[in-house]
């Protein structure tokens, strides 16, 4: 498989009144054709900023990509002129936002909002654009597309709105779809429908998906690969099996343990990760998670852990997994 998107050592900073916030600090990952990558992590860990950096949609006057490369089919998007970047947005790389209610224009008809992208990128006539819009609405499962095309946002339900968002994003047949918390604003049954829709569309169009979420249930259902982010860094990356069945980073373990489980007794309390993420105005010198980590060592507080490979697809940034670390046998093994 060829590498469609390759992010290398991405750094993004925001200027605020309090100083510079280093929101993304050295993120690297790659995405192949037809693959689904999930980026998970708690609020403020830099997952949305990473996604917006790929679209180059971070607000210009406050946010800036300070270092790194974003290679899309070999072209570096970080240095690409804005005009060429606009040509890619919506046609090659599309984005879906969290809340379709606020992410669609309330005073422009749905049809026009779907069609303007086609007209912009594919230079089609309005009649041809309309035909494509109708086809797209059908694909995302909206009945009566002909009539629906003329309607406005307030005439649709929450799930329908998200379907329209997806239709808008996919109408130019992009090769990458970035979905920023696409199911967070929806109720559970609709969430499942939307996730199924993503899968169907991927099968039909072969689009690669980057899905940003904090919902591990969504990850398990849709992703091939998972990046776990913490305080602006990827702390663990692997296939969905590796992350769910052999989590190695204490933060990943903590995330999985803090999920409610159906197979445990109802009275079992949830196991949250104590503490809160570090201040990104002044990120700690060592591992960002050290302050909350029950396994933290002296070295964790003072030195950044490097990535240790645990197989071809599984990488973790943790001193416990460093090849130089002493081998510790778990207690069960000693029994």
């Amino acid at each position: 498989m060829e590498k469609l998107l390759q992010v290398e050592d991405l750094h993004v900073s925001f200027k605020t009144h309090g100083g510079e916030v280093k929101a993304v600090r050295g993120v690297s990952f790659s995405l192949e054709k037809g693959e689904t990558l999930a980026i998970v992590g708690e609020s403020g860990c830099g997952k949305s900023v990473t996604a917006r950096s790929i679209m180059r949609l971070i607000p210009e006057h406050v946010g800036k990509i300070t270092k790194g490369k974003i290679l899309f089919n070999g072209t570096d998007l970080v240095t690409l002129p804005e005009k060429e970047m606009r040509g890619l947005r919506g046609s090659q790389i599309s984005m879906i936002f969290q809340d379709a209610m606020t992410s669609l224009n309330p005073t422009i008809s749905i049809g026009e909002q779907i069609m303007e992208g086609i007209v912009r990128h594919q230079k089609l006539s309005r009649a041809e654009a309309k035909a494509q819009a109708l086809e797209m609405l059908q694909l995302v499962g909206i009945a009566n597309p002909e009539r629906r095309l003329k309607q406005y946002l307030h005439e649709f339900s929450g799930g329908m709105r998200q379907r329209i968002m997806i239709a808008i994003a996919l109408v130019c047949k992009p090769s990458i779809l970035i979905a920023d918390e696409p199911t967070t604003a929806l109720d559970v049954t609709i969430q499942a429908q939307i996730i199924d829709l993503f899968k169907t569309i991927q099968q039909k169009t072969g689009v690669s998906i980057v899905i940003i979420t904090h919902d591990l249930g969504v990850v398990a259902k849709i992703a091939n690969k998972v990046n776990v982010m913490y305080a602006g860094q990827v702390v663990e990356a692997g296939t969905v099996r590796e992350i769910f069945y052999q989590p190695q980073h204490p933060y990943t373990k903590g995330l999985l343990e803090s999920m409610p489980r159906l197979d445990l007794d109802r009275d079992t309390p949830l196991a949250p990760i104590p503490g809160s993420p570090p201040d990104l105005f002044a990120p700690p010198a060592g591992c960002a998670f050290a302050a909350r980590c029950q396994y933290a060592l002296e070295v964790c507080r003072n030195h950044q852990p490097a990535y240790s490979s645990l197989g071809t697809t599984h990488q973790v940034a943790c001193w416990l997994q460093d090849p130089r670390a002493q081998t510790v046998y778990p207690l069960q093994a000693a029994k």
């Binding site: 606009r86 919506g90 936002f97 992410s103 669609l104 422009i108 303007e116 912009r120 990128h121 808008i168």
Partner: protein, 310 residues
């Protein structure tokens, strides 16, 4: 649609009737009479005859009913002071002048106001934003007669570009229209800027950018339309205000518009002219409010004025 228009029409009539009634009785509650000049009363016999001529000797209730009767026939009555001219004649002669002046000043204030507001919002907290804010604050704070005086001094007296006063060619319109438009322009600019700033932070603007649309398209198609809604509300009353003329501006530029009659009539207790101009102004305002509602429904599809059948 038809039943909506009918309903609105009836409610407009009721509103107008309330305005007429309140004005009528308030006006008669104010002491003084049309025939009194600087405290000097007329010869009692003459005054009595005059009162009888204009039906002012009858009880107030009778006068009120007969006024309503003539109003229904669009007959606003004779002017007491400027007899034999009728109020209809006065409005018919002066309103086109005021309306023409108002139209051009409105045109300028809308275009310049919106442009100023948009530019200020796009360059938020930059130099041009501060300049625009200063212009708007001055526009709201400085009375238009001061602006008028300055315009006359420079454009008419020093540079001799436009005539200083009177009415006639298009050149005569420029200075009074500019003077009149300064205030409304400032208000529109402030409104547009505030709404635009709000709309620009909305997520659908992000979506529009994510489609790869040109920034100009994002601003004009997605942002401006939604920021103009509150401005349109404002326009209804601004239009009525400006079209019916400004007493001060018309006085300064010696323009034969409506503003003069409106103010003079109150000085002179010229009852029929007071009523006539008030009714005319109110009707215009009510109609414009109705039009604003219609335009609202066109611009924002979320606003439904009436239920669609089927």
């Amino acid at each position: 649609m038809l039943s909506f228009v009918l309903k609105r029409f009836i409610s407009m009539l009721i509103t107008l009737w309330v305005i007429v009634t309140v004005t009528f009785f308030l006006m008669h509650a104010v002491p003084g009479s049309p025939f009194e000049r600087e405290g000097k009363a007329l010869n009692p016999t003459v005054e009595k005859n005059l009162m009888a001529l204009y039906n002012l000797d009858k009880p107030l209730a009778v006068q009120y009913v007969s006024y309503l009767k003539s109003l229904v026939q669009f007959e606003l009555g004779p002017s007491i002071i400027r007899s034999p001219e009728t109020v209809n004649d006065m409005i018919g002669r002066s309103f086109p002048v005021s309306a023409k002046l108002g139209f051009f000043s409105l045109l300028f204030s809308v275009i310049a106001g919106i442009a100023l507001g948009v530019v200020a919002a796009l360059r938020h907290n930059k130099l041009i934003d501060y300049v625009a804010t200063i212009i708007s604050v001055i526009g709201i704070a400085v009375p238009n007669f001061v602006v008028a005086a300055l315009l006359i001094k420079y454009f008419a007296v020093e540079w001799k570009l436009f005539p200083a006063a009177t009415w006639g060619t298009w050149k005569h319109i420029v200075l009074p229209a500019l003077a009149l438009s300064f205030g409304p322009m400032a208000i529109i600019a402030r409104f547009t800027r505030a709404n635009m700033l709000d709309v620009l932070t909305q997520e659908y603007i992000e979506t529009a950018k994510a489609k790869g649309l040109h920034p100009a398209v994002v601003i004009l198609k997605h942002a401006l339309r939604n920021s103009l809604l509150p401005v349109i509300t404002l326009l209804g009353s601004l239009i009525a205000n400006v079209l019916t003329g400004s007493f001060v501006i018309e006085k300064i530029f010696a323009i034969p518009g409506m503003g003069k009659y409106f103010v003079d009539s109150i000085y002179n207790r010229d009852y029929t002219v007071i009523m006539g101009t008030t009714v005319f102004y109110s009707t215009l305002l009510i109609i414009l409010m109705f039009l604003v509602d219609i335009v609202y429904g066109i611009i924002d599809p979320r606003i439904k004025l009436y239920k669609k059948e089927g």
